[in-house]
């Protein structure tokens, strides 16, 4: 995916989220939470687009799931823990959880566990830029910018210009086994 395709995908995601939120009567109680690190910039972009579509600015937050991982003992070295920053009450909100790539679903599982420690949301939707398949848990995206067929040994990388790495691009790297 190139920069233009990514922009269109984000616009489409925002439109679908806005439509679904209105239909559910949740447009006023919408909040966006990006999963660190890949989901943070996407969450900011979605917020911008949703502000235009909804006419008000939904609150945005950040989750770092390092403390909720299920593979701490297996990793050897403890993973780096980044900041989690949710400054709005989660209670009763419709939360759009945002990540760049949905793969095994384990990150989303951890994010859901962490999110409910902040309160009881009315509902949680999952929005991702790329759903690459290979899910290992019963978790699916409510909104996906693109579906890619990618083999297990390969890696899907989303690079956004906010990271200072040049133009937006989605790359598939690694050999097909």
């Amino acid at each position: 995916m190139d920069a233009e395709q990514i922009e269109r995908a984000v616009g489409r995601l925002a439109q679908e989220i806005a439509d679904r939120a209105r239909a559910a009567g949740a447009a006023d109680a919408l909040a966006i939470v990006g999963i660190r690190r890949g989901g943070v910039h996407l969450a900011a972009r979605l917020r911008l687009a949703l502000t235009r579509l909804l006419g008000h600015e939904p609150p945005v937050g950040t989750l770092d799931i390092a403390l909720y991982r299920d593979d701490l003992s297996a990793r050897g070295v403890a993973p780096v823990v980044g900041p989690t920053d949710i400054r709005f009450p989660v209670q009763g909100k419709t939360i759009v959880l945002v990540d760049d790539v949905l793969y095994t679903g384990r990150t989303v599982r951890a994010a859901l566990d962490e999110l409910v420690d902040f309160g009881r949301p009315r509902r949680v939707w999952l929005a991702v830029l790329v759903d690459r398949g290979g899910h290992e848990l019963p978790i699916a995206a409510d909104f996906a910018g693109a579906h890619l067929q990618v083999a297990d040994g390969q890696d899907v990388q989303v690079r956004l210009h906010e990271d200072g790495q040049g133009a937006d691009v989605v790359l598939t790297t690694g050999r097909v086994p």
Partner: protein, 313 residues
């Protein structure tokens, strides 16, 4: 692992990067303590044993809350109700507890070097919660965290440590940590309570309180241990308080605006600190207590979270 450290026994062994690793992680841990549900599952299934051979309320509770906030199981073991009174040696006690497969042993002992001795005989991670007059590493780290949080950085800051330096494990840990983060340290206290040759650690030594605290960005007041009073080191508390205690008048006249006052607790009110200063706007003493939990969470997370042997595999 904290950098290369399998244990947390002495800040003397810690590099600047290792200290910063703990402090940076403690920032995230402090955020967890502010949540509606103050619990994360990181150390689920891990166990922490608090092995205290010396009285402590604050430090033991702090480690216990830290362990429980990370979902570790926590066992408190105090020497008064244990087999130590039946003559068991330190190493036997530690080995017996280790046979119950804890992931971290937190040890406080009246003899300097006890945590290191235990670490050499057990396989799990060992954290010192204070050993004799040697070190109190988690206190040193939480002092650094508290001052850094308030001042933004320790680079170029000046810190005064006042009191019974020679018997203080807090002073020793602070002295090994603050300079590594770029702060200058001034020591102050009665000459009888100042270790000889301590300047070699890169600090300046003062006997005059005013000279030590004037212009300092933070002042750490140490507790005067009651058992020392009346022995030849200091004749009485009134004299100590007059010369080395910090009261409202001295604080107003000598401390620069915005200077912080720290104390590791428990405070002898009216001896080293007057109540007006201890409860005043410059005091960050209760911050220290809260930050202590966050710093200890960071230490436990880093030492219990990963297994060095598995990392190599």
């Amino acid at each position: 692992m904290i950098g290369r450290q399998k244990h947390c026994i002495a800040l003397e062994d810690f590099s600047r990067e290792e200290i910063l690793q703990v402090l940076d992680l403690a920032v995230s841990m402090k955020e967890v303590l502010r949540r509606p549900i103050k619990k994360v599952p990181s150390l689920r299934g891990k166990s922490v044993v608090n092995l205290f051979f010396e009285a402590s309320t604050r430090t033991r509770s702090s480690f216990e809350i830290a362990a429980k906030t990370l979902s570790a199981d926590c066992l408190n073991w105090t020497s008064a109700s244990s087999s130590v009174t039946k003559g068991e040696t330190l190493i036997d006690t530690a080995r017996n507890l280790e046979a119950m497969r804890p992931d971290v042993l937190v040890i406080r002992h009246s003899a300097g070097g006890a945590p290191r001795l235990v670490a050499d005989h057990v396989g799990c991670a060992v954290v010192s919660a204070g050993d004799g007059a040697h070190e109190h590493p988690s206190q040193g780290l939480l002092d650094c965290f508290t001052v850094r949080e308030r001042l933004g950085t320790l680079e170029g800051k000046t810190l005064a440590i006042v009191g019974d330096v020679s018997h203080s494990r807090v002073a020793r840990s602070d002295l090994h940590a603050f300079p590594k983060l770029g702060a200058r340290v001034r020591l102050c206290g009665p000459p009888t309570m100042m270790p000889s040759g301590v300047e070699k650690l890169g600090c300046t030594v003062h006997t005059d309180l005013r000279a030590a605290v004037e212009g300092a960005d933070a002042v750490i007041m140490l507790r005067i241990q009651h058992e020392r009073i009346g022995d030849p080191l200091i004749p009485n508390t009134r004299e100590y308080s007059k010369l080395w205690g910090l009261n409202a008048r001295k604080a107003a006249d000598w401390l620069k605006p915005g200077a912080l006052v720290l104390h590791p607790g428990p405070i002898n009110r009216g001896v080293e600190l007057s109540p007006e200063v201890a409860d005043g706007p410059a005091s960050v003493i209760l911050d220290q207590v809260q930050n202590g939990v966050a710093v200890r969470m960071a230490i436990l997370y880093l030492l219990a979270g990963g297994d060095a042997a598995e990392a190599k595999a």
